[in-house]
Amino acid sequence: MEMVGMRVDKPKKPNDYNKRRFRLFGSDLSFDIINTFFLILIFAVVTYPLYYIIIASFSAPELVLNGQVTIFPRGFQLGSYERVFNNPDVLRGYWNTIQYTTVGTIVNMLVTIPAAYAMSRSDLKGRGIFMLFFAFTMFFGGGMIPTFLVVQRLGLLDTFWAMIFPGAMSVWNLIICRNFFQNNIPKELLECSQMDGCTNRRFFMQIVLPLSKAILAVMVLFYAVGHWNSFFNALIYLRDDARMPLQMVLRRLLVLAQPDPNLGAEMMEDWVRMLMEVEMLKYALVVVASVPILILYPIVQKHFAQGVMIGSIKG
């Protein structure tokens, strides 16, 4: 039998056996009960808000806003989604974010991966200096204003590239990636190839990259999720509404558009309906904005965990 809890060693004396079993079983049983109870509670606290958003987005507005939707969707409707998909700002933001995410991730990869490989080579002369050069920026920086002025000086303000270049490389990702190369590309492979006259660039392209699909996937996901969720760069570097990514549109619709609680007394019926529509739009909007991540979640989750663990190995 493979059941872990059943395997109790049989001591020789019967008295001892009883005493020990009682103690072991007693305290560990209460431990298991408390532990399971709190795990279930944690599970509920984390998932219920997510679940609620989804069922609310499909339910009848009056029922949701009166607090009558709690466990199951009621008064099924798709009107909120229709309104989201008919909102030109949301669609444009979505399209912009897709562009920023795609181009941004490609640039990130082209900058990070080759550098990480070079940094993984223990025979790289000046490696310590390069490492210091990169790592120092993790702990100290010029701050928001000087960075803004650099972007302005480069003429990037309010351009597509303001969303791509300032965060083109994450030192954290560079280190994760370097650790992977260090631990997973056998030294003998390099030595053999060098003996055959293989250049570094060729070794990198034809041997290292095919052996590193796992870390490449992790990096793509790290960067892509970052771009998808990012709103700071847009807030600071963009003015033109036509270039705004989804997150800025969401900020306007989800965060800034709050009904004024003081107006409650003399609300007119039209106003109530408008408020309802605005509030209901939000539920559907949260779902629509998170759909790509929801779909990718199973893959993302596996790789993110892997990435964090690779990164935690001190190199």
Binding site: S27, L39, F43, I53, N66, P146, N200, I236, P261, M309
Partner: protein
């Protein structure tokens, strides 16, 4: 030359020969070095403007130097103390709750009686990490809305008063910290789960034979094993104690809670980018970065002394 050659060959090649063979490694580094130089080191040079009356047309070279005038002006305002305290309080409260939570969750999952349930809880708690900050704050507005939010409906049903959570200064910190715990605990736990997986199983066997309960195993086996990981994570969090996330505070900020929600980062944004006082804002930002950096060095030094675990 001829004499030196065998010796050089044994020790490794000369610099020129090395470069001739490995120049491509340096080419691979060029884009990364360039981006870091431009977007990380150039601003560090640009921060000199904190000691000037910076004028964008004259640049760092042409602008007049004013020494510490901006720092003096900042510390002379009554706002200074308030936003520094707001930053510290919010950071410390966040740290107190968000630091132990992942460790506790990791241990709970480690001792979960069902592997499958453990995996389900892990996946579920992990998900909020991927929710964008904007969406997170939007969700909070939906849940905590005074008139139509589910939290206030529940409060009323239980006989309580409706609360205007998102526009109430007293609720700003609890909501901020709570949402950070909700969003980050599952993700933060990964690293500790990995560390716990590294516990030597023979230790458990020995402990079980000696009759150690699970509580005892946690205290005497698990915690000591993951202590180096805990210390590294603590150094990192303490080092960034003054840089609590700008995005979420900024998004949760509104005129009714600024007295507690105005932190250094949001103040820098407002002064610099809204009001155009570049030098003044850069000075405040620099103060923040320096404090962070010094804190990190101090914490790292102490950790090295006390536990021989440190970042460098």
């Amino acid at each position: 030359m001829i004499d030196a050659m065998p010796k050089v060959k044994r020790k490794g090649k000369g610099v020129l020969a090395y470069l001739k063979e490995n120049w491509d490694l340096y080419v691979m580094l060029v884009p990364a070095v360039a981006f870091i130089a431009i977007f990380a080191y150039w601003p560090m040079y640009g921060v000199l403007m904190a000691f000037q009356n910076f004028n964008p047309f004259q640049g760092i070279f042409g602008s007049p130097w004013v020494g510490l005038a901006h720092f003096e002006r900042f510390f002379g305002t009554p706002t200074a103390m308030r936003i520094i305290m707001n930053t510290v309080i919010l950071s410390v409260q966040t740290l107190i709750f968000t630091f132990p939570a992942p460790i506790i969750l990791a241990i709970m999952l480690h001792y979960c009686i069902s592997k499958r349930f453990s995996r389900i809880v892990q996946s579920a708690t992990y998900f909020p990490f991927f929710i964008a900050t904007v969406v997170l704050v939007g969700m909070m507005h939906l849940f905590f809305s005074p008139s139509v939010g589910i939290v206030n409906h529940a409060l009323e049903a239980l006989g309580g008063q409706r609360i205007v959570f998102m526009a109430d200064a007293a609720w700003f910190r609890p909501l901020f910290v709570g949402s950070r715990v909700w969003q980050g605990t599952g993700f933060g736990a990964i690293i500790f789960i990995a560390a716990l997986a590294g516990v030597d199983p023979t230790l458990y066997e020995a402990a079980t034979i000696d009759g150690a309960s699970k509580w005892n195993r946690i205290r005497h086996i698990d915690l000591p094993t993951i202590m180096p990981t805990i210390i590294i994570m603590l150094i990192l969090s303490l080092g960034s104690i003054m840089s609590v996330g700008f995005e979420q505070v900024f998004l949760m900020q509104n005129p009714r809670n600024t007295e507690v929600s105005e932190i250094i980062a949001t103040y820098v944004y407002r002064m610099g980018l809204m009001e155009g006082r570049f030098s003044f804002a850069a000075a405040v930002g620099l103060f923040n970065s320096v404090v962070n950096f010094v804190l990190l060095i101090i914490v790292n030094f102490i950790a090295k002394k006390v536990s021989s675990t440190s970042l460098w």
